[in-house]
Point group: C2
Chain length 410, copies 2
């Protein structure tokens, strides 16, 4: 089955805003075996929107609209759908009372304009909104279904999941989707694709998607089958081949980010981590502590951005720093060593590099980063040359440092 999605709101036609509801909805629809064949964004113009609705219903049996359900004059989705379908809008005393109660429970009085939200399109079923005052609407037409959802994601998502998903699933031909999701580090996107393209290309089902961020690649497999078992077998067959080829480059098969995986490894060993950061200036510590509960394995560290801080906070020998230069193997090693020593952590990571855009260090190309790792087994450092761009270099450095620790812990 095919579907179209229309996002409504003049703010979504400005250079600043993008409709992301349709991404989330597409994911849910794909899982039901529904393909999205067109997405549109329209402003708060009733006639234009009514025209777009009429057009969409000539093409597809399922149309989902998001947004334009608020209480103001600008919110015209209800009116536009009614106009396109030549149906009336009917005031529902029941919905009005329900909205009034929301206001009362918040200790406020319902404004007169909120009555606009109590109008249902003739023949529509009301979709309750657990997180706001705008109810959604579900319309069964002779030729298809129209679903109207509010714009704010925290209202739209639970409404779709609680009030639409089960009914849609019942109406649709049975189709089962099973997925695999691998996160990969320590390899570039094109190298990864060269490795696994010969494996996944012969498969039209599962569909393989590769997404790359700085030093972090995601491989998605989506298999369709008549039964859940058939879909799972297909996903597993291709998935296992890809896993075998990528080996320990795969750091997560359940979606966990790298800092969580590393944190779990440290926790399982009763080990702790410290950092010493020059060019990343704290980003590595910030990343490690994105996971709640990180205090079980992350102690802290040193932001030694200025050269003098390497001496002052970490006790590095001033002459040695001058001799080797701050972006060097010797300094990366000394930083990791000292951070481990001064914090009492089991492991310490250090980062020193030239993030650019210009080189502040003569002879050091922007993108050059030394990463050090001190552990009970000793200390070592590796040199990397990351793709240009100040923030990119720093993100690559953080991801790569975490991956070095993961490899050490394996």
């Amino acid at each position: 089955m095919n579907a179209e999605i229309i996002a409504v709101g003049s703010e979504l036609l400005t250079p600043e805003r993008v409709d992301t509801n349709s991404l989330w909805l597409t994911q849910r629809l794909n899982e039901l075996g529904v393909e999205v064949t067109q997405k549109s964004v329209l402003g708060d113009d009733r006639d234009r929107l009514a025209g777009a609705i009429t057009g969409a219903l000539q093409r597809v049996p399922l149309l989902i609209l998001t947004g334009g359900l608020g209480p103001t004059e600008d919110d015209i989705t209800r009116e536009a759908v009614a106009q396109a379908l030549h149906r009336r809008l009917l005031f529902s005393a029941e919905i009005c009372q329900w909205i009034e109660e929301i206001f009362t429970s918040r200790g406020r009085k319902m404004a007169e304009t909120n009555k606009r939200q109590a109008f249902l399109i003739e023949g529509a079923e009301m979709l309750p909104n657990p997180n706001g005052t705008a109810p959604g609407q579900w319309l069964d037409l002779p030729g298809g279904i129209v679903i109207i959802l509010p714009g704010p994601p925290r209202e739209m998502r639970p409404m779709f999941e609680d009030a639409c998903l089960a009914t849609l699933r019942e109406r649709l031909p049975k189709l089962h989707i099973r997925t695999r999701f691998y996160r990969v580090a320590g390899i570039g996107e094109s190298d990864l694709d060269a490795m696994i393209a010969p494996i996944y290309k012969p498969y039209a089902n599962p569909v393989t998607t590769i997404l790359a961020a700085e030093g972090d690649i995601q491989v998605h497999l989506r298999a369709r089958g008549d039964t859940a078992e058939a879909a799972d077998a297909l996903a597993g067959e291709l998935g296992n081949k890809i896993l075998a080829e990528l080996g320990e480059r795969v750091y997560s098969t359940n979606g966990d980010p790298l800092e969580t995986v590393v944190g779990q490894m440290l926790r399982a060993r009763g080990a702790t981590l410290a950092v010493a950061e020059s060019c990343t200036a704290g980003l590595l510590g910030g990343r490690i502590t994105e996971a709640p509960g990180a205090s079980a394995w992350f102690l802290g560290g040193f932001q030694v951005y200025g050269t003098a801080m390497k001496t002052r906070l970490l006790g590095l020998d001033e002459k040695r720093v001058a001799e080797h230069g701050v972006v060097s193997e010797a300094i990366a090693i000394a930083m990791a060593d000292s951070a481990r020593d001064r914090t009492g952590a089991t492991y310490a990571l250090s980062v020193t590099g030239e993030a650019g855009p210009d080189s502040a260090t003569p002879g050091i190309e922007p993108g050059t980063v030394w990463i050090g790792l001190a552990s009970p087994e000793g200390v070592a450092a590796k040199r990397f040359l990351f793709p240009k761009g100040r923030q990119r270099v720093r993100k690559f450095a953080v991801q790569t440092a975490l991956n070095m620790l993961r490899q050490q812990l394996q």
Copy 2:
């Protein structure tokens, strides 16, 4: 004048990808006084796309398509436009030779499939592509204009700027756009709107847009006028009223982010900055060093995430920490004081709080953050309660710390 934008590509209908070309194009079109009334995304399906093109040309006099100009069978934009307009596709030996030369200059041979890119829609003008092999096309129709651009932004943007902008400007009624752009900190979005809505609401021109991130609000004004002077006078009139109302909450009128503004203030005073970070664990240092050249004012600091690190790295008294609790005024003050002392910086910022999602500190509500500031004039700390969400709390804390320093420096 109104315009529509159609982005072509099946990958743009997956849950992972979003069309961003239309944001850039909308910005350019708005500057020309053109309003975008609908944006659509379609996959690589010729009939569907031809239908969408026919529909758009019934509504607006300017249609821009992006994507689907590659050399493969999937790339069907040329064919779809020809089909919608009932025009033929004509092979251009000249374009073919131009594409061949690109391959030759890269030391490669043109593939047979690239010949597809040498077909022009009857009556179209070729738009040269300085960054790729896909030429664009410009079509003058009795009722309007169709512009076809490649999908990759680095090909699309220069093509539009170099080959389309001047012609469009000539054809359009003369309209001048002038803007104002204010960045604001230290106030919430709804409080800000309550302050300035009575000022900007009476103005239909300039158009006012407010965008909010964690602790960082942007106010955009866009004024239209028959002359540049008229537009600028309008933008200035409203802008000055808003500036007067917001006062020193406005930290930037040229788009500079807060870390750049603070960095410039420190540099102008020959002053330096250090940090001591608990719940942010390095994010403040990471943010300060997003600006290149930050080593002129940022020294470094301490990531004292674990409680023991506050004693070990900053020398805080263990009993005092236990007595006050780590999330307290006394500890925020002691952290800032010690960081300033141990680094020798002119100023030091400290952050200690409960980012959540759960409270690790009995009696401390998640979202509670103490921010300390030590300066030559003394040391003080302030308590904040930020909206829930671990990453949100941490981003708010970073922004608020920088803003405290800005206010101190003013």
